[in-house]
Amino acid sequence: MPPTDTLSLPAADTAMANPVAGIDQSSGNFSYPQNYEFDAGTGLSENTVRYISEVKKEAPWILEFRLNALKKFLAMPMPTHWATKDLENINFDKIRYYLSQGQKPKRTWDEVPDDIKKTFERLGIPEQERKFLSGVEAQFDSEAAYSNIKDLVAKQGVIFANSTEALREHPEIFRKFFGKVIPTGDNKFSALNSAVFSGGSFIYVPKGVKVAQPLQAYFRINAENFGQFERTLIIADEGSEVVYMEGCTAPKFSTSTLHSAVVELVALKGAKIQYITVQNWANNVFNLVTKRGVAHEEAEIKWIDCNIGSRLTMKYPGVVLKGRKARGEVLSIALANDGQHQDTGAKMIHAADETTSNIVAKSISVGQGRSTYRGIVHIPRHLKGCRNNTECDALLINTNSRTDTYPAITVRGDRNATQHEASVSKVNEEMIFYMQSRGLTEGQAMSLAVNGFINDLARQFPMEYSVELKRLIDLEMEGSVG
């Protein structure tokens, strides 16, 4: 079935060439051996792309889309003129672009494999929530491990599927919006994703439907050198509302891993989309993600984005405010620990009258960790009644940390308004001593200071996510003391 010999490694050989079992799990991270049914091998070529498309039994237009994207990816330079040179350290030849367990999405908790359950256990998800999680779509490597909430929302006419499935079953909707918000050649990594994408969610919410419960997906990278390239497309039809949440955790590996997702949101007239991410990548992951939404008339798109971990994250969720009175919001929290660089921000492109946008970005730099805020707010001259508010706050924990802010705010014309505030503060020794003198350990004191710093943002998160975020911060701060 695989098109070439070089790509038809049987599972056993793959395991030998890439001994998942030999990974050091002693550092508090975790991974379980998985037998991959389909494997595209390492490196990227036209054959890799053809292999992925064939395994997924895709229509010819998709293969064409992928091959075109591959050409763009190969032709585009790395964006190192403005971004960190660390990008040059990605070795594209050593990355595994497609793996699949070859299992169908699971419907019930009982059908979920034990080792996957074990992972949820390690993630510290309480018993009640594990039951709740049977309504969660969890992506294990390239394919969804299971999903059943989709049956529930299907009663409202909502389509909630993984993108592979949706391409097969709903090509008419998919094709109309796919790659329109973020064109293939938007940047080198969106081109890469367009060539090799696999997994991710597709959601269509019909007119006027308000989805009561948040739709969820957990993503996780679980094979050495394996890049994850999920592709998510959410379309909220007129007057509809949907909340989507993704949580990312990844086991730690000794070689670099690439995660490069593309997420496109379309909020048609009067629709509301909220997209929430709490991610915790292992500190060898390059996390290079393109996220953008288009908000039509009176529509609202809100990104809530928490970035913890990774070696380098570059992510600037954006909203194109295309219709009159559209609203866009980005609330972002980034935590950069030793050896990590969080290069995050937001883009607000105002393209209609009376559009409003709000950006609140908080970054925490610990040890040698580095945080960068990069933002674009664009309000052209011919528009009127547009408003933007941008707030960037940075917290530094110890003197070696670094933080930079690059806000690019272009407001033309005299009928628009913007305000920008930035602050930098430090967790000082006196504050830590004060808390220690109440019996908190240094680590607990740091966690509390950091949680306090992000508290006003974290409060806007759904309960279980703010709890998880707090737990992740506690874990990060535990290791940063000494």
């Binding site: 001593f433 220690q436 109440r438 019996g439 004191a445 509390l448 006003d456």
Partner: protein, 253 residues
């Protein structure tokens, strides 16, 4: 019955000696006032006993029920039963008093032991009623934007909740007007007299605090050590004669 013994304590900041031989024993339930002019090392003493990393104890010892605390980190000392009421408490933006205290109470529980949230709030509200503190107070961020009086009340509330065996109160009266002073003093007095009444080391340079928190013992500190001890009348004498009297009497010694 607990006992805090400060034995011939010498304290330096960097190479500079600040406290040179301070000795004092406090039993639970007792209030010892330490008075003295600025710069005699009173605050240094309190912070060093609490375990501030900037202060080095060069000799002497601090024993809590016979056990030296000097090898302990500040947080271990706190959990062992020491409490420092700060002259200038730090603010912790975004952390409510209720959550801060909850974390502090949780830190005192054993491994795997979980805080009973209902019982905790019940106790918190009882203490607040005792100290006449409005319920809304605990939802505010710790010391963030507080007036001088509010900061000190926050310290007293923490002390009431953590029930230390010994409290070191550093210039608790500084920055308070007379009404705030009375409220804070009432808060301290409310914690005295019971079975778990803490021993208190009260650092101040004004007699007026001692009108409200009546001490069992008064010690005058001069040139980095205690030069005179007595009962509460010593504070009045000091107030009448001024610190110049101490200077004259002890400068030569």
């Amino acid at each position: 019955m607990s006992c805090l013994e400060i034995q011939n304590l010498h304290i330096s900041i960097g190479d500079k000696p600040i406290v040179k031989g301070f000795t004092l024993t406090i039993a639970s339930g007792e209030v010892h006032a330490v008075m003295g002019p600025n710069g005699t090392g009173k605050s240094t003493l309190a912070k060093a006993i609490a375990g501030h990393p900037d202060y080095t104890i060069t000799s002497g010892d601090v024993l809590l029920d016979g056990r030296s605390v000097l090898a302990m980190e500040a947080d271990e000392r706190a959990r062992a039963g020491l409490f420092l009421a700060f002259q200038y408490p730090s603010d912790i933006p975004g952390v409510s008093i209720a959550n801060f205290l909850r974390a502090a109470v949780q830190a005192r529980l054993g491994e795997g032991e979980d805080l009973d949230a209902t019982a905790y709030y019940k106790r918190l509200y009882a203490k607040m009623d005792l100290l006449k503190i409005d319920r809304k107070f605990t939802s505010r961020s710790v010391n963030d934007g507080f007036s001088g009086g509010e900061k000190k009340r926050c310290e007293i509330l923490q002390m009431a909740m953590l029930e230390p065996r010994f409290a070191l109160m550093d210039e608790t009266d500084s920055g308070l007007d007379i009404d705030a002073l009375r409220i804070v003093a009432d808060g301290v007095n409310a914690q005295r007299g019971g079975a778990n009444s803490p021993g208190i080391l009260l650092i101040t340079h004004y007699q007026r605090l001692l009108d409200h928190i009546v001490p069992d013992h008064v010690h005058v500190m001069w040139d980095s050590r205690i030069v005179k001890s007595g009962d509460k009348s010593l504070a009045l004498e000091l107030e009448a004669k001024g610190y110049d009297w101490v200077k004259k009497e002890f400068a030569a010694a």
